[in-house]
């Protein structure tokens, strides 16, 4: 069985346990295993943009280095963790100053220079498993469901570093929706921001933004939204009254693969 190093992140241990549990069960059904790395620390939630920020990047470097030592790719699930770790990895590959200073802190036997490949769970589905294979393994296709994919910001931008998909017109989640037998609904706000952490202090701002997203998705005929980000899910659920239901994409994946029940029992 193919094994990947796995970085769940703080939210997946607490408020977003579902996102994690469904992903693990689905992985098993698809024939790969997520091996949680030891002693992971919180990624910090936001990428420290400052070129002089080193300490705040170290938790990501530790996770990346552990995966390197295990000769495994590092898989993430939460959009924020993916964003932070992928960008720190890019720094370790390309920014000499950050690489040197981070390694000075880490005191590793062999310096880390961005050797690990960081993959989002969706990228594993697309590039390693393949959506065609996924389609074959679906036992319970969600036929007839009209699903809007909500990407948010963190998975897509900056496109040059994340290299996840076309940041202005992505299709990975739509292809995923097709693979599990449902019908994707494309709407223009799927890559617009939900407000992110701003909802802590500026609830109205986030509300407006989530409203735009919901209205646009509903207008184009979506019956539900899926996302990979716990914060997006929280904002969309909490700031819009009577909005569309929002699910983690892993929940629908588990459902399509017929493993949702066993997760619920466990």
């Amino acid at each position: 069985m193919m094994k990947y190093s796995y970085y769940p992140g703080c939210t997946l241990r607490t408020k977003a346990k579902d996102l994690d549990a469904y992903a693990r069960a689905s992985a098993k059904a698809l024939g790969f295993e997520l091996e949680e790395i030891e002693n992971w620390q919180c990624c910090g939630g936001v990428y420290p943009l400052g070129s002089d920020e080193i300490a705040t990047k170290l938790s990501s470097v530790r996770a990346l280095n552990e995966a390197k030592e295990k000769h495994q790719d590092l898989v993430t699930l939460c959009s924020a963790c993916h964003h932070v770790i992928k960008r720190v990895n890019d720094d370790m590959q390309n920014v000499e100053d950050i690489r040197t200073r981070a390694n000075n802190y880490m005191k590793l036997e062999e310096p880390y220079a961005g050797e690990t490949t960081v993959l989002h769970f969706l990228e594993v589905l697309r590039d390693r498993v393949g959506f065609d294979t996924l389609k074959e393994k679906v036992t319970n296709p969600l036929t007839g469901k009209k699903i809007g994919a909500y990407y948010g910001c963190l998975l897509l931008r900056p496109g040059k570093i994340l290299q996840f998909d076309n940041p202005e017109n992505p299709k990975i989640l739509e292809d995923f929706i097709r693979a599990i037998g449902a019908e994707p609904v494309i709407y223009p706000y799927r890559n617009e921001c939900c407000g992110g952490y701003i909802s802590l202090k500026e609830k109205d701002m986030s509300k407006n933004m989530c409203n735009n997203i919901m209205e646009s998705a509903e207008g184009f005929g979506a019956e539900m939204l899926i996302t990979a980000c716990p914060l997006c899910l929280y904002n969309l659920n909490n700031s819009v009254q009577n909005g569309l239901p929002v699910y983690y994409f892993t929940e629908l994946l588990a459902e399509a693969l017929g493993v949702k029940e066993e997760v619920a029992k466990a």
Binding site: N166, E168, N169, I186, Y187, P188, Y189, S216, G219, F220, G221
Partner: protein
């Protein structure tokens, strides 16, 4: 020993402000062979040249070093001056103390020191110079034009009118180019076809002009005055001589689903087609990818309905070889692909279009017969938004760093035409800057605003958001009002950046013409030789050299023609005397040099030699100086050191190295 004169130019303050010219003159006097040194404000001026001439005569100079600007600028000037004074022009060398010294250094002491060293290197070289005499080569009195758009047509007409034979090679089935796709032209709003078609007809009827459409240049060899070019005439599967252009075949062709290139894919055409009604030649081609006969072997309708019996499914590509004295590149442009700009929703919505697509929509022969309508539902728009600089002026790697130049004007034109024909349609233009330098251009743009009420907003658009009701929400900024604007529109038109035709790189490589990072061909001098390539005999016409509108293109096309005529009018060309020469006593006839020569200029002869009293017949390399272009590849390849290059000999270059490292 040479008697050398050194002439140091101030170039006004261009050199003298950073280089102590007097000191340079003084220092060079200490060099071996130098018998005269002076400085002057402008050596290239009449008076400056007179100084050189006088010194040559008075001091019996056998060599001259001019410390001035780049030899690419004035080497010829000073060589001519020397010739006037009776000195062989190849006894003149230039020390480039402007571009390579005064302009890039700030410290006077440092710059002066470097100028002296550069002069020293030139003196060391001149000490070893020998008089050279250029040979002669013939000029084929025929020009090749690559590209049959307005640039190529104009150049062809001008050259042909001067009495020379001209061939136009056009890769599409018809000449006409981009201009044939335009509806109206700025700043006078005359119909594009009305002014272009007569020129197309004139070119096709001209007895000196030979048009090869559906053809591409395959191979180029030779050099200025004597190029040999292979042209691939792609199989049309229609006999040019028999076809009457009746059009029945296109009408009856059952395969009508191919995207029309001429209409930018907005509608379809048949598999056998002419791109547009006024096509020249009016002879269709069969697109084998869409032709049922070629795909399945069954069909043959066109052949059955053709009364002239012109259809020939067995036709093959044909290669013709022709000789030319001059080649003009007029390959033009295309709009960039918008895949990097999905925030403008071009790929997501049919109602977001490029300006060139709007030209087709506005054209009576276009996909909507000239009616302004949305391509999604055929409805007439009420609100139109134009977005400027889409992919132009982008220093990231998504777009082009340059200004495409024509967009400001054609957008004003589109806005005006729409407001004129459909007064109830509101037109908004989002712009960063409105750039209208050109005769009557700004007046034209102001008319769009003042007379036609076009709403210009300074600010870029961030995103075009398709709405469930089919409209487009345009999110842009109004920088003067400091507002973010959300504007609902029915259609959005993108002023898409233009880029040189993608095939031009391949052509430039064949012609050894230099090309810049944006794929525009480089001119020989940015200001003074704008229509010539640095490669002799190659001329540039139209947008292949840089963004241009139609009047500029036509003017430049004429200029390129004049330059080509100037070349064709000569019976003989002086050849570069800096050619390779083999020392027959050192040559051992190994053939290494001939293998690296790109011009086939080296042959072998059995010759009698007298090697220190020993007479014998040896196999020796002989350079044909008419063919040799003087690259020097053979000189380095030669294992015995027999091959050397006149004007850039081993000894001369080593002397320069020594002088610099001294």
């Amino acid at each position: 020993m040479q008697r050398i004169g050194v002439f140091v130019c101030h170039c006004g303050s261009n050199i003298a402000a950073t280089v102590d010219v007097k000191k340079v003159a003084e220092m060079t006097l200490l060099e071996p062979g130098v018998v005269h040194a002076e400085d002057y404000q402008y050596m290239c001026s009449e008076a400056g040249q007179e100084k050189i001439i006088a010194a040559i005569k008075e001091k019996n100079l056998t060599g001259v070093v001019v410390c001035s600007c780049s030899p690419r600028m004035h080497e010829t000037t000073f060589r001519k001056a020397a010739e006037k004074a009776g000195l062989n022009p190849y006894m003149v060398e230039i020390a480039n103390i402007r571009e390579h010294c005064s302009w890039i250094h700030k410290d006077m002491e440092e710059a002066t020191e470097k100028a002296v060293i550069l002069a020293r290197a030139a003196i060391a070289k001149v000490n070893l110079n020998a008089p050279l005499k250029p040979g002669e080569s013939r000029v084929t009195k025929r020009a090749l034009i690559i590209g049959g758009g307005i640039a190529g047509i104009q150049t062809a007409l001008d050259i042909a009118d001067a009495g020379y034979e001209v061939d136009i090679v056009e890769k599409e089935p018809s000449i006409g180019g981009r201009m044939s796709q335009l509806d109206k032209t700025f700043p006078t709003l005359d119909c594009s076809a009305c002014i272009l078609t007569p020129k197309m007809v004139e070119a096709s009827a001209h007895e000196k002009i030979h048009i090869h459409t559906y053809s591409e240049v395959e191979k180029v060899s030779g050099f200025v005055g004597d190029f040999t070019v292979d042209i691939r005439k792609k199989a049309r599967y229609v006999d040019m001589d028999k076809c009457t252009g009746c059009g029945v075949c296109q009408e009856k062709c059952p395969s009508k689903k191919a995207a029309s290139e001429f209409n930018r894919g907005l509608n379809t055409r048949s598999a056998i087609y002419t791109p547009f009604a006024q096509a020249i030649p009016n002879v269709p081609v069969i697109d084998t990818e869409n032709c049922i006969k070629f795909k399945t072997g069954k069909c043959g309708v066109c052949s059955k309905v053709c009364q002239a019996g012109a259809i020939d499914y067995t036709q093959k590509d044909e290669i013709i070889t022709e000789k030319y004295g001059a080649i003009v590149v007029a390959t033009g442009f295309d709009t960039i692909k918008l895949d990097n700009y999905d925030e403008y929703a071009y790929n997501q919505s049919k109602d977001v279009i490029t300006s060139l697509e709007l030209e087709r929509i506005m054209n009576a022969a276009g996909p909507t017969k000239g009616h302004l309508e949305r391509l999604s539902d055929g409805k007439a728009p009420k609100e139109m938004v134009f977005v400027q600089c889409v992919g132009s002026r982008c220093s990231d790697d998504r777009g082009k760093p340059y200004c495409s130049k024509i967009c400001c004007m054609y957008t004003a034109k589109h806005a005006m035409l729409i407001r004129d024909k459909y007064p109830d349609v509101n037109v908004t233009v989002f712009y960063i800057d409105v750039r209208t330098p050109g005769k009557n251009f700004d007046e034209f743009y102001r008319r769009a605003v003042e007379q036609y009420g076009v709403n210009y907003i300074k600010g870029q658009v961030g995103k075009v958001i398709p709405q469930p009701n089919g409209k487009l929400l345009v999110q842009g900024s109004d920088l003067l009002d400091n507002k973010q604007i959300l504007k609902e529109a029915d259609m959005v038109v993108l002023a898409t950046a233009i880029e040189p035709n993608p095939g031009v790189r391949k052509i430039a490589t064949m012609l050894t013409a230099s090309i810049d990072t944006n794929n525009f061909l480089t001119e020989a001098h940015a200001k003074l030789r704008p229509v010539e390539s640095p490669t002799a005999g190659i001329f540039l016409s139209g947008v292949c050299q840089g963004p241009k509108d139609i009047p500029e293109t036509v003017a430049q096309a004429g200029a390129a023609a004049v330059k080509a005529i100037g070349l064709l009018a000569k019976d003989k060309l002086m050849t570069n005397p800096c050619t390779a020469q083999s020392d027959e006593l050192l040559c051992n006839g190994c053939s290494t040099c001939a293998n690296v020569c790109p011009y086939g200029a080296i042959t072998y002869e059995e010759r009698q030699v007298n090697d220190h009293g020993i007479r014998e017949t040896r196999r020796l390399a002989v350079v044909n100086s008419a063919l040799c272009q003087g690259c020097g590849a053979c000189t380095v390849a030669c294992p015995s050191g027999a091959m050397d290059l006149q004007g850039f000999s081993n000894r001369q270059i080593l002397a320069e190295v020594d002088a610099i490292c001294q």
